[in-house]
């Protein structure tokens, strides 16, 4: 009875006093059942630095009601809004302005679980809350368009439809369903078998069958026997291959490890025969050619998994981390045609996997590339893609902010970390984080908390600019153009140093790796692992632009679905029709649609972060690229967006300033939105070959009061994406609290 009462008291008191308690009085009840009662103890203070997915996941996890208020979390965020690379804002007419195109994938189980819990918590507190149900916020999408250059000129388009699968992302997963490479391989065999049985038989029935006794006593004989079977004619080939795949699939489950070389050669022979058969059936058919390309890649992956012994390698797919993904597939028999297929190009484009933003230097580690592909194709639930109802800031970080405030988390906006200070110890002795230094970029009038959200179309949203009217000397800052999110903005009003014990017990470094060299100088000076990490975990700058159009894409000549497209003309190879978000904006006369474009931003050889003019110069380049894109490649997408003289109809662009005539012609691009994501913390994280070994885990305990969170860490799914960042945040929470259990982080333990 006392226990239940105390639990209830803990939760209620936290909610009641959390938002209103003075800063120096943050005492919560901490229930200790071993004493059969309650005791008053100071909570453990955790400083979470950063506001991206990793930092928010850590904060969300540490403040779950199950912890009973044990962790007092304060989030320190530069600028005026949460989100990091996922931040979005609202500009004129309440239009959504993003860093780029954000699409969630159907296997982001950890990220979706966090959002479902967040939305559920808000609904439980207030069923009429403005955020609604999570299923209104995330919209399933089953189609994607992939482009490839046509043989002569122009583009070929391939629409891929991925059927819905049972369940929803974030649903609990039965431990019995945990996947292995064996299971992936068995499923691949099953899919190949289905494809073979569905193919048209086009060969002559009179194909000569080489006679050879199928019984053999050695591995070479086994391979010859299988090849003999495979060569006996079309029908026989199809049946034999199908049967052989069934045998291989069954054997995968039946045979214990390790597998003998005979099995390996048998599987390679079957794959070789399957390749020949399917090539003859599919490649001549334009519609099926791209299916063949996917099959070719699947066969190469299958042969590679077998040949490289990945089924039994304890490192799983990390064993091939040193290989570049395309090159590894080529080693295992993939054709050039398949390696340059729209499917592969689309994967690289979606992963922004180009070193230094150079399209001629695709770079993706084979291990992580295959891991991501397997999870994508075999692990998505519900739909393969999930678009957001509005900006990612509105759909993800606004509800998270609201839920965390309700839980008692304190947010210190306009705090930019400048240094992680280590305690001075004798050489060779372990050290710890002794202090954290910030630039206080601005102070809130009256010393209260900054209110970061604005209402647009009835929902709380992040603005594209800070509320200067809440800030001390805000009018002057606005007039002088203080850009709080810019790496090059050094103006600030004060410095603040947090000291261990007095101000924090633990720190979660949730910034991006691009910022690490600038704020972790002391760590880098003494720690070669951190130096190697910053040198080898690469990032790439990105560029994006958004347009709002008076006519929808159907009127402009685009037939959808699909509405998400990859593999198109560089630099904006990925784009998405965002007609569904315009009702969420605040236009007096809403445009028919908006379209988001994004891609990598090539790094010039003279790039330097010391040049304060650098961001403006790159932004002007993006503007010019956007203009050239609309005037050129867009013709292949929207032929009716061009007039009789072949010029893009710039009058289609919707001006967000109501009643303004606005510029005409190409200058009308200035009414739209674009950005160059060149801030070090905005750079997109890559997984280049051989880089995984340099990542550091949030569980690393070298600095015993510090953990890290972000998609740049060794989080089990080492690639730049929301899911990786959330997994990293969960690991950071585990590092500090022991929760969640590692087994409860979906796919942390994964080949």
């Amino acid at each position: 009875m006392v226990g239940r009462f105390a639990d209830s008291l803990t939760v209620n008191l936290s909610q009641a006093i959390g938002p209103i308690a003075p800063q120096w009085v943050r005492t919560k009840l901490w229930y200790r059942r071993e004493f059969g009662g309650v005791s008053l103890e100071k909570p453990i203070k955790v400083a979470v630095i950063g506001g991206g997915c990793g930092a928010m996941a850590a904060a969300f996890e540490l403040t779950r009601p199950e912890h009973g208020g044990r962790y007092e979390v304060t989030v320190y965020q530069e600028g005026w809004r949460l989100g990091g690379k996922g931040a979005s804002g609202r500009g004129p007419s309440g239009r959504i302005e993003e860093h780029g195109l954000h699409v969630w994938l159907g296997y982001y189980d950890n990220a979706f679980r966090m959002m479902r819990d967040c939305y559920g918590e808000l609904a439980a507190a207030d069923p009429a809350n403005p955020f609604g149900d999570w299923r209104e916020a995330f919209i399933p999408e089953s189609d994607i368009g992939l482009f490839s250059p046509a043989e002569r000129e122009g583009w070929q388009r391939w629409a891929a439809h991925f059927p819905s699968t049972p369940g929803l992302p974030g649903d609990p997963i039965d431990p019995g369903e945990l996947v292995s490479l064996r299971r992936y391989l068995a499923r691949s065999f099953t899919l190949l078998r289905t494809l073979i049985l569905d193919c048209a038989v086009g060969r002559d029935a009179g194909v000569a069958a080489a006679g050879q006794d199928a019984r053999a006593s050695d591995a070479g004989g086994l391979g010859a026997a299988m090849k003999d079977l495979l060569g006996r004619g079309a029908f026989v080939g199809a049946a034999v291959i199908a049967e052989a795949l069934a045998v291989l699939s069954t054997a995968l489950d039946a045979l214990p490890a390790p597998l003998d070389g005979a099995w390996v050669r048998l599987a390679e022979s079957v794959c070789s025969g399957a390749r020949r058969f399917l090539e003859s059936e599919l490649i001549a058919d334009d519609r099926m050619r791209h299916v063949w390309e996917v099959v070719d890649l699947g066969l190469a992956y299958t042969v590679g998994v077998i040949r490289f012994g990945l089924l039994t390698d304890p490192r799983g797919l990390d064993a091939i981390d040193d290989y570049e993904c395309r090159e590894w597939l080529r080693l295992n028999g993939a054709s050039d045609r398949a390696l340059n297929s729209p499917f592969v190009r689309g994967l690289y484009d979606l992963a922004l996997a180009y070193e230094d933003g150079d399209p001629k230097r695709p770079s993706l580690s084979a291990g992580q590339g295959l891991r991501a592909t397997l999870r994508l194709f075999y692990g998505y639930r519900g739909a393969i893609f999930w678009r957001m109802r509005a900006g990612m800031g509105d759909v993800v970080f606004a509800p998270l902010h609201e839920a965390l405030v309700r839980r008692g988390v304190r947010f210190e906006f306009f705090h930019r970390l400048t240094n992680v200070g280590l305690a001075r110890v004798a050489e060779g002795e372990p050290t710890f984080v002794e202090n954290l230094t910030f630039h206080v970029q601005a102070e809130v009038q009256g010393g209260g908390a900054y209110a970061p959200l604005v209402e647009v179309a009835g929902r709380p949203c992040w603005p594209s600019k800070p509320a200067f009217d809440q800030l001390v000397d805000g009018a002057r800052m606005a007039a002088e153009g203080w850009d709080f999110e810019s790496h090059w903005e050094r103006r600030h009003t004060a410095e603040k140093t947090l000291d261990v014990i007095r101000d924090f017990d633990f720190a979660v470094l949730g910034i991006s790796i691009g910022a690490v060299p600038h704020v972790c100088r002391e760590i880098l000076a003494r720690d070669p692992r951190w130096r190697s990490m910053t040198e080898n975990v690469r990032t790439v700058a990105t560029q994006a632009f958004q347009i709002w159009l008076h006519e929808d894409l159907g009127q402009l000549g685009w037939e959808g679905p699909p509405y998400i497209v990859a593999g198109f003309s560089k630099p904006f190879d990925t784009w998405c029709d965002m007609a569904h978000v315009t009702p969420e904006e605040g236009w007096a006369a809403p445009p028919a649609t908006s379209v988001y474009f994004c891609g990598v931003l090539p790094e010039p050889p003279d790039a330097t972060v010391d040049d304060p003019t650098y961001p403006q110069r790159r932004a002007e380049e993006v503007r010019a690229s956007a203009l050239a894109y609309l005037a050129g490649p867009a013709r292949a997408l929207w032929p009716k967006a061009f007039d009789a003289e072949g010029r893009f109809r710039f009058d289609l662009l919707a001006d967000p300033i109501e009643g303004r005539a606005g510029p005409s012609g190409p200058d009308r691009i200035d009414t739209q939105y674009w950005r160059a994501n060149v801030n070090p913390s905005d750079r997109y994280v890559l997984n280049t070959p051989g880089s995984t070994r340099y990542r550091i885990s949030p569980l690393d305990i070298t600095y015993d009061n510090l953990t890290i969170a972000g998609d740049w860490t060794d989080c089990g799914f080492n690639t730049g994406c929301v899911e990786a960042a959330v997994m990293s945040g969960l690991l950071a929470a585990h590092a500090l609290s022991g929760r969640p259990a590692l087994e409860d982080i979906t796919a942390y333990d994964h080949p």
Partner: protein, 276 residues
């Protein structure tokens, strides 16, 4: 004294004399990448440390147990193959076959399928023998001779002893009662509606790809409907014609001849009606 529910979490940090909190080392750090599925019996079990050597776990039980297990598994594979072949043979015998897998003589086909399956199963046994041909297991093999094949009712050159009840293939338009008739259905896409009115299709003598002349208008000079393709029916029996009707296709009857892409011999006709 009851055990605190959060005792694991409480032990995550220690207090030093200076009251500075420190994290305690986690039970494990790296993910478990071993390519084996979690045991089905494990439900939210406590984490176990990873094998520091990174080697696969040694097999449980004695070597002889492992040999016996592999022999049993081999027979399982064989039995599965036999069952699948038996099912396929039965289907062929009663006339349920896929156009792409059906040569003329069903009995010959059934026998051939069974022989292939037996040969593949023999291959599996040869493979098992190879896998077992390990010096460390030779003694165990000698001590455990292979068991005879379990009784399955399978006979080498004859039909299975108990064929299942044949299933009738579904077809919206009954084809002729000819013994070699193939069910043909249509799948329409496009904004306009259409129905199939007449469809006849006979089984080719040899495996082939089906083609069709354009579906020509029978009533007017309307343009023909092109681009018709064929695929196996989802239920494994018969053929489906995929037909796209353009938005501006005039209503009326359209008909074409289905023929073999290999021999160019006609195999049937297909007539559809595009509705208003």
């Amino acid at each position: 004294m009851t055990t605190p529910e959060t005792s694991d979490a409480m032990e995550t940090h220690d207090m030093t004399d200076s009251q500075r909190m420190k994290r305690t080392p986690p039970v494990r750090t790296p993910p478990i990448r071993k390519a084996t599925p979690a045991p089905a019996a494990t439900v939210r079990a406590a984490p176990t440390p990873a094998d520091p050597t990174g080697n696969p776990s040694p097999a449980d039980g004695t070597v002889s147990d492992a040999v016996a297990q592999m022999v049993r598994l081999g027979y399982d594979v064989l039995a599965q193959n036999i069952q699948e072949a038996r099912t396929a043979a039965s289907q062929f015998r009663v006339g349920e076959y896929n156009i792409r897998e059906a040569p003329g003589d069903l009995n010959q086909l059934a026998t051939r399928m069974l022989r292939l399956t037996r040969e593949l199963s023999s291959t599996t046994f040869d493979l098992m023998d190879r896998v077992l041909n390990d010096p460390a297991l030779l003694g165990a093999i000698a001590a455990h001779p292979t068991q005879p094949a379990p009784a399955t009712g399978y006979q080498a050159d004859g039909p299975a002893t108990a064929p299942p009840t044949p299933k009738m293939a579904a077809s919206p338009i009954a084809s002729a009662a000819a013994s070699n008739a193939v069910a043909l259905t249509c799948r329409f896409t496009g904004a306009k509606s259409a129905v199939m009115t007449v469809a006849t299709l006979t089984q080719p003598d040899t495996p082939t790809t089906l083609k069709i002349t354009g579906l020509e208008s029978l009533e007017t000079s309307s343009p023909a409907i092109e681009g018709v393709t064929f695929s196996p029916a989802d239920n494994g029996s018969g053929v489906v014609a995929d037909i796209t009707i353009k938005d501006d296709q005039p209503a009326g009857l359209y008909s074409g001849i289905v023929f073999s892409a290999v021999t160019h011999l006609p195999l049937g006709t297909l007539t559809i009606q595009v509705l208003q």
